[in-house]
Amino acid sequence: MNANTLFGPLWLSVQLAAITTIVLMIVATPIAWWLARTASRWKPVVQTTVALPIVLPPTVMGFYLLILLGPGGAIGSWWVELTGNALTFSFLGLVIASCLYSLPFAVQPLVVAFESLGQRNLEAAWTLGASRMDAFFSVALPLSVRGYLSAVVLSFAHTLGEFGVVLMVGGNIPGETRVISIAIYDQVESLNYLAAHQLSALLLVVAFIALFAMFHINRRWQTR
């Protein structure tokens, strides 16, 4: 195995996982905040809907996304009109698919953190002149660090490992949509067990370092 087939997919995976995680934190935060604080009758419906993507097998989910994001699909055709490019079989498509698929893993820990935050700290912040937005960023967010850590870890790790959706929507194109999970899968499929072991070990080491760093930073931060 040469360096390119080894590190190319790995680098792509790390990029995908990082971007997906960032996007997810931005998207999941308002959803989780709303869910944690609303008294709306629709809350359980929204909660359920957010959690629903993961009950579909990844490949099947990927299949539906393929149709939806493809040039004939509702979103895909609109995107083609807008930019001239297709969403499917592109890195952007992968990001969208990964985000949709990992959304519950980002939302759930945040909801738990936000719900246990309580009203008291926020009330204090408001009376000190912080707007709702300001109070969120200056009080709620730092006090929910543990929830964010969990959300980041789950989103990041899950995106690294996921390949059903990615394979379907991305199409396993080397250098573009062939991420490491697909590469390992390919090696296993084609009986290259040795290569598969190597790639798996590489992935595990990288993931271990990344996750360890996150947990460690968090620990330092909390006991500061």
């Binding site: 490949t59 299949f63 393929l66 149709i67 493809g70 040039p71 004939g72 699909g73 895909g76 490019n85 297709a86 499917t88 079989f89 394979l167 379907m168 199409g171 396993n172 194109i173 080397p174 062939r178 390919d186 296993v188 499929e189 084609s190 009986l191 290259n192 067990y193 040795l194």
Partner: protein, 236 residues
Amino acid sequence: TESNAEQVTVAVASNFARPAHEIAERFEEASGHSVRVTTASTGKLYAQIVNGAPFDVLLAADEERPRLLEESGLGIKGTRFTYAIGALTLWSRDDELAGKDCMEQLTKLGTKRLAIANPWTAPYGVAAKQFLVGAGLWSIVKLRLVFGENISQTLHFVASGNASLGLIARSQALDERLPASTCEWPVPASMHEPLEQQAILLQRALPNESATGFVDFLRGPVARQIISDRGYTVPQ
């Protein structure tokens, strides 16, 4: 993006990945074009092509999907051809079966498992079922079957010792990376419908010389040699 005249993207059924890579390499040497090989199950590749995947050529594991593509116009009419014919091998690495007649063991499975590819999804599964039914063994082994998602998963089941016997592809049985078998029996081609693997040139490859070049190369002697070396029959 428009397909690059210099580059051809070939979608290959997973079971044919290894010969496809070798052929692509030889083609690149010979033509100067570059080839991107992308692999997945034929079912996935078909769904992707229908939804606009940027593939120029499809090397399927069956003849059904290429035919559907040809009929729907996504595949270019008249470019469909059988590039390889697969064969089944009954294979085991179970030490208890060493030196015994493999075929006979099918009737004496006991608590042992027989792995075949999924007859609802994988061409090799279809063939395996045809063989077992034809040999009158289906009702005997039925309760001892485990189904692999595809032919390579079927091999994992046998190679890891979880299933005692498996109906795998001949091409796999020849793979030098496998542990030695304890018994092996090539299933005669007459005992199932032919496992024709077909290729088709896809619509988006139309202006792409390298794509037609690759298909021509696939029909050529170098590729045929590789294919037959890997355990497939090459049709005339």
